[in-house]
Symmetry: C2
Subunit: 217 residues, 2 copies
């Protein structure tokens, strides 16, 4: 019946995906899509105009305000709203990162629609939804009992800026100039990021950053 429907919102920067998903979910008759938004900032702007959603489907990499920040904002300002992360990648970092930011579940865009509907219903009723993908990561996290990337998203604004400039044909020297910093300082950033991402080359860094949905190309 109408009143039992789960009210959701969708935040993703690809219009066709977002609107397509809205139609797909609406057809399930168990979900009501209140609104959709292009990115976190857009969502914050639209939020007051609608009833508070039960669940928000959240993309991670988006322009202006990404999924990590937006989820943290939601938990600070509307702790009752549940967040279900939607991503293309199944790396440790974005999964743990989104959960730590406050998401109650993590689904791949390669999922089947029925599984997504289940996840939305689960998260609406229990505030979390642990699928195999997530439980596997959590289990390994415990079994290895080393903290296993539980704080890998801690990038300061300068490091993030550097990371973005890394994804280009620019040399480190050129990046240093663009950021008005000494090449040595840039080298510190490089060093720090190599350790955080456990990579040995700039290329590895770029690939990791993309898979961890920290940057967008």
């Amino acid at each position: 019946m109408q009143t039992d429907k789960v009210n959701i919102a969708i935040v993703d920067d690809h219009t066709l995906f977002r609107q397509g998903l809205a139609h797909l979910l609406t057809e399930s008759n168990e979900i009501n899509v209140l609104f959709d938004a292009d990115n976190g900032a857009d969502m914050i702007k639209k939020l007051p105009a609608y009833p508070l959603p039960d669940v928000i489907l959240m993309d991670i990499t988006m322009p202006v305000m990404n999924g990590y920040e937006t989820t943290k904002w939601l938990k600070a300002n509307h702790p009752g709203v549940n967040v279900l992360a939607l991503s293309m990648f199944e790396e440790d970092t974005p999964i743990i990162g989104m959960l730590k930011s406050g998401a109650g579940g993590y689904m791949l865009k390669q999922s089947k629609a029925a599984d997504l509907v289940n996840a939305i219903k689960g998260i609406a009723s229990q505030s979390f939804y642990i699928n195999e993908l997530v439980s596997g990561k959590l289990l390994r996290n415990i079994q290895n009992n080393q903290p296993l990337k539980n704080a890998p998203i801690g990038l300061n604004p300068n490091e993030l800026k550097f990371l973005e400039l890394c994804c280009s044909d620019l040399t480190y020297k050129q990046i240093a100039d663009m950021m008005n910093l000494s090449p040595h300082t840039i080298d510190n950033y490089r060093e720090a990021l190599f350790q955080k991402f456990e990579v040995k080359s700039r290329t590895g860094l770029v690939i990791s950053a993309l898979k961890n949905e920290l940057i967008k190309i």
Copy 2:
């Protein structure tokens, strides 16, 4: 009326996107989605089971068989079927590349649904659909009258394999070992690809390959 509907198929490896889009387009009442497929090989398998589509919406980067190959196969085996490329990027290379492969149009996944419906109807009736994105590229192609990347997709299997291995933490030496080639030969590939992509570093190469939808991470 029913019989005027445009029959289409959707080929894309992200299930939620593909199915969402199918629902979205079905609602327009002008489009009938016959079937969808995970990649080119899957499409070829499913094609005989349905009436021949008027238009096929084609993603570019897909596992097993990508959009370029699949479009070429369609033009060779079912020249009457129109292909509309769907991509996240607006680089020259994939646009020109898909058009050369035989696509009749090119749309971004950031497009609005109404624009996509227009493109589908246009391509169904005229076999092509030239939006601003495509016409701009074509115009520049003529104005600069240098061939402007009209043959940038010409990678042999070894180069493609090398390109994929480049998107990692591996050193060139390790790549040479994995491909059972001398590091010097690898250096030749690197040199050739740097020229084709007009880049000066391995990082630039990786970013270009991703934007040109030649590889998938």
